[in-house]
Symmetry: C2
Subunit: 252 residues, 2 copies
């Protein structure tokens, strides 16, 4: 599987919202899509659209809302799609293959590498109609609390687009550059620490070997950075310098 094909597969995924009641949900869904790198939004007979509330909820995804394709029929919205996947919370009366997002998304991404696929969402109140279900190759359901499994429409869009993004291999985050200290720098720190604790007389009441193991455990677990080692050694140096300064003062 070509890495580039996989990441570009998101461009072949169409989010279709059927008969959405609240325009705010359309805007929120557009925002959810854009944060995950999806852009093709289709709306089947939305109750109110275009609408100011959709733009407000979209925040910086107003472009997705403005480029949304408004369709008069299911046929129009599914035109050209080689795979239609329905999203539903109510699965009791569905006798269709139902997968979790984590199992389904890699399959969807694989198909979307070459041809358009559709994720079909029903209305806020009733989900997908029987006619809509009949157009789906399979269903996706989000694992949820059995006592209250009704996610907000835009939240469901967010979750599925997130799983799509991860399945497309776009799972990295812009982490800050940490500069961990190498082993030898850590060892010099521990030698410095032990010397200092000895100088200030801490080992008169504590067993040095045992205590050094405990302090090692703490600092190893923290995975010290180079800058942090410098700060800690600076504190050690100042501690002994302070004693020297104090002694000088006393001796004057």
């Amino acid at each position: 599987m070509n890495k580039q094909d996989v990441t570009q597969s998101l461009a072949n995924v169409r989010i279709v919202l059927s008969h959405t009641s609240h325009p705010g949900n359309i805007g929120a869904a557009a925002r959810a899509m854009k944060t995950m790198g999806l852009e093709h939004l289709y709306l089947i007979n939305p109750e109110r659209f275009p609408d100011k509330q959709a733009d407000i909820m979209a925040v910086s995804a107003v472009d997705v809302v403005q480029n949304a394709v408004v369709c008069k029929s299911l046929d129009e919205a599914l035109q050209g799609a080689v795979l239609v996947v329905g999203v539903s919370a109510r699965v009791r009366d569905i006798s269709q293959e139902i997968l979790t997002p984590r199992v389904a998304m890699p399959q969807i991404v694989q198909q979307a590498m070459q041809q358009p696929v559709v994720l079909l969402f029903g209305t806020e109140m009733c989900g997908l109609s029987n006619d809509e279900l009949a157009r789906c190759q399979f269903m996706v359901t989000i694992p949820a609390n059995p006592e209250y499994s009704s996610l907000n429409l835009a939240s469901a869009v967010q979750l599925l687009c997130y799983e799509l993004r991860l399945a497309a291999g776009l799972d990295t985050i812009p982490a800050p550059e940490l500069v961990p200290a190498p082993a030898e720098q850590l060892e010099r720190y521990f030698v410095h620490l032990e010397q200092t604790l000895d100088q200030i007389g801490f080992f008169r009441t504590q067993h040095s070997t045992k205590l050094m193991y405990k302090l090692r455990r703490l600092y190893m677990r923290a995975r010290l950075e180079q800058e942090e080692v410098n700060i800690l050694r600076g504190i050690l140096t100042t501690t002994t310098d302070f004693r020297i300064r104090q002694n000088n003062k006393t001796n004057q």
Copy 2:
């Protein structure tokens, strides 16, 4: 790791929202939490709360909103928590360990099996303050579109609670009971199909072996259920019966 301890770990997870501006987001966050089986919501100095808009957006999670603990300080909200994890979209200026939800959540669940842990969310506009960041053991960031990575607050809550739920092993969905046909039933169907196609003269123009392999491929891929095999065989029987009835009519 005891299975029951893991699933009960969600009860030890506290969602803390700091200085939330819009009460609708508090309600939507409560709904997101409840759908994933979480219930402990803490609010640090919310701008407007309680508020009708919070109840509206909570839908059937009004209980989570009503039981929310309103705190005057960060100290109050973190009281008793042995692990505080910050959630942030803006990571450039953070020099802290940052993990993706999928990597972080198993660690959080493991800790939550025994003691309270906190997921700390900042304001809608500015995220976490420096003082809040300084209280976190590590950070979680959701992989997102680098050109627009700002998720709605409740969507971020939804996503992290979903990952928590999966990490706690609650990843099943109430799938309908399918009754797949066993191998021998499928073979009887294919024999019946071949006989029927032969009787109606379809193999006069088609190579039977090659064609039967193609039809097998289709029906095997569909993973037929028992009821479906019965329907398909019923169609085959009706097809040959129809020919017999027609022949009888012609011969009369």
